[in-house]
Symmetry: C2
Amino acid sequence: MANAYQQMTTEELDNAIDQLQTEADKLKDEHLALDMARGKPSPEQTALSRPMLDLINSSTPLVDGNAIVDNYGTPEGLPSARRLAAEILGVDADNVVVSGSSSLNLMHDLVTNGFTNGVAGNKPFYQQGEVKWLCPAPGYDRHFGVTAHLGIKNVPVPMLEDGPDMDVVQRLVEGDPSVKGIWCVPKYANPTGITYSDEVVRRFASLEPAAPDFRIYWDNAYCVHTFGPEEDHLLNIFDALAEAGKEDLVYEFGSTAKITFPSSGIAFVAASKNDIKEIRKAFQVERVSSEKFSQLAHALFLKDLDGVKAHMAKHAKIVGPRFSLVEQKLTEGLGDLGVATWTHPHGGYFVSFDGPKGSARRIVALMAELGVKLTPAGATWPYGDDPNDTNIRIAPTYPSIEDLGKALDVFVVAVKLVSAKLAKAERA
Amino acid sequence: MANAYQQMTTEELDNAIDQLQTEADKLKDEHLALDMARGKPSPEQTALSRPMLDLINSSTPLVDGNAIVDNYGTPEGLPSARRLAAEILGVDADNVVVSGSSSLNLMHDLVTNGFTNGVAGNKPFYQQGEVKWLCPAPGYDRHFGVTAHLGIKNVPVPMLEDGPDMDVVQRLVEGDPSVKGIWCVPKYANPTGITYSDEVVRRFASLEPAAPDFRIYWDNAYCVHTFGPEEDHLLNIFDALAEAGKEDLVYEFGSTAKITFPSSGIAFVAASKNDIKEIRKAFQVERVSSEKFSQLAHALFLKDLDGVKAHMAKHAKIVGPRFSLVEQKLTEGLGDLGVATWTHPHGGYFVSFDGPKGSARRIVALMAELGVKLTPAGATWPYGDDPNDTNIRIAPTYPSIEDLGKALDVFVVAVKLVSAKLAKAERA
């Protein structure tokens, strides 16, 4: 269906472009410096976790069950931190390793270990010729970066409203032994904010991979990151595996980066009994024992899943209004024009926006001119290659509510101007 | 020269064995459970750094220069932590990256990045056929483990009293383009405790590697770990490089694992301008931004090199007497027998002990029977293969002074009994 600009007479369209250009020029003169680029908690949010910094001092007992906190040992993580991580992911603590502050780093290390040393006793990827990785797109640019860095071929898979297109996933995973993994953010996905349906999760758990060293890299980064009003339901992948009579198929990741402190959270991985044993063996070579004061502080601060949920409710009060503002500004500014669609997440850190075909790069470039930084267009696709050049990731959490409102006003102008110009160009 | 047992008459030797066996049997009945296995600070030592845990609380300003401590960013490390690390290594802070809590993990990641993506624009190691790594031996087992894990061929190089045998090093590095690295612990080496002489350092800095992707992995783990009475002098490798007109040849590593808290220290790497740029680029893919509270706490606690030295003087008071006890017990127990030699370090964490040919595995096994855990014999050689089976690594820091004394008494009996039995076996 033609959008509002396409439906205009040429004169109307020229007038609209002139008017939008004038608005844009005015905005440019304001010399704004705003940022909607990365999924980053705001200072208000990180302040919520400051009390954690009071929980360890020089008189704190530095033992945790049988573990010593202030010396080498316990490379699998402190018992209390493993229990906490297990509650967050809904798995058994025995199947969890807590290590370091970055789940992306854990994912990197496991993909790399597959590349250099193989998964489950199979040949290293580097000895297997071309290796492929499935990348539901739009998706998380840094996931794609990890596999691309190793020369693994990233293969885009369409993202639907209830998760990746499982017909495509199943065909590729079950038909092609060079497919060794798939990147998933199953709840409040980056960037669409959707949550995989039970059926999608069950289809994942029922996959019969052609490759014995295929694993699902299940990055449950936003599992407790609901900002309301309602929480999405995600079926526990390990429950689905048990239901399907499967094991050794999923590495699940999580962290508290967006619960407590980005860069200073705790990160964790969960897997089957066999897989976690292999992971611990790989980590024996590369990791000594991880920073444990942070693990202890997290366990003392968040305590358990209830503690995490109570804490996340505080985040929701800060984050929720920002997402409402995105919805409001985009609806008011663009709702009637038919130029764009966007997602309406209940959690996570992003809104995924699609403008007219061929618009995304232009919109992002124009926004930069107008003083608002956005994630580079295409970043949500493998190799930065968005085939229709429509997708833009909006990250509304970091700016103040005032700055966000201003940035969205600019965004509306930019989308309209680029859409109008594209409509004009179609007529030439 | 024949040792005391070899010089005995058969009757004397049989009597000596009987008597030593009786002593050993008595010790066995004591059911000891002592440990001289790993280089681990004692609880007394880690207690020295507890005041660090009081330096950050909920009201601490979480900024450091231009860096934000409690959010993403500054993947190269906080400015104050980089300055501290730079002072410890004697380099420019611009050439340092502070990341994570483990220098072994940094080393692993850089070797692995060479393996998967290459060094300085050259092909990844995995595309270059057989790749070799020089391993001065005896050396650090976990170094050797990193390269062995990747299938890189570890090549032992003799350790002399002033460092690795540089004739061998030079011949291999300059003659064989498949040699991509060498593991070095240049000060208070693990396990011999020796410090490389100026001449050795200068010869390292003057190497003309056959491979453009060869680097020296300079693990300066014990650079400030003197326990006296005098401090060994180590020529700064980057100064030596400048003198030789070289760049892009050394990755230097360090950490505070044995300054503040093992497993919860800060780790760092220093390199030339080009190399550090490449390291930062590689880390961009695999590391988000590192735990920064620990970095800030370290900078606040240790302040600068003078602060580090003052703190290490406290460690020296705890560690020094343990090393004196090793020297005293070994001299008293074995000094006149001609069965063994050992090192007399001024710093670090180890004494390297050499018994008669073919004795090390037997001594370690007997010690285990007698209730004292030692580092596995051979561990100090690549692939655990000590060609003469003589070397044992003694780690005296962790046990209490009483336990250490007892463990050393047991060790003396074990060395004597194994030596006597070997002398007996020679006659059969």
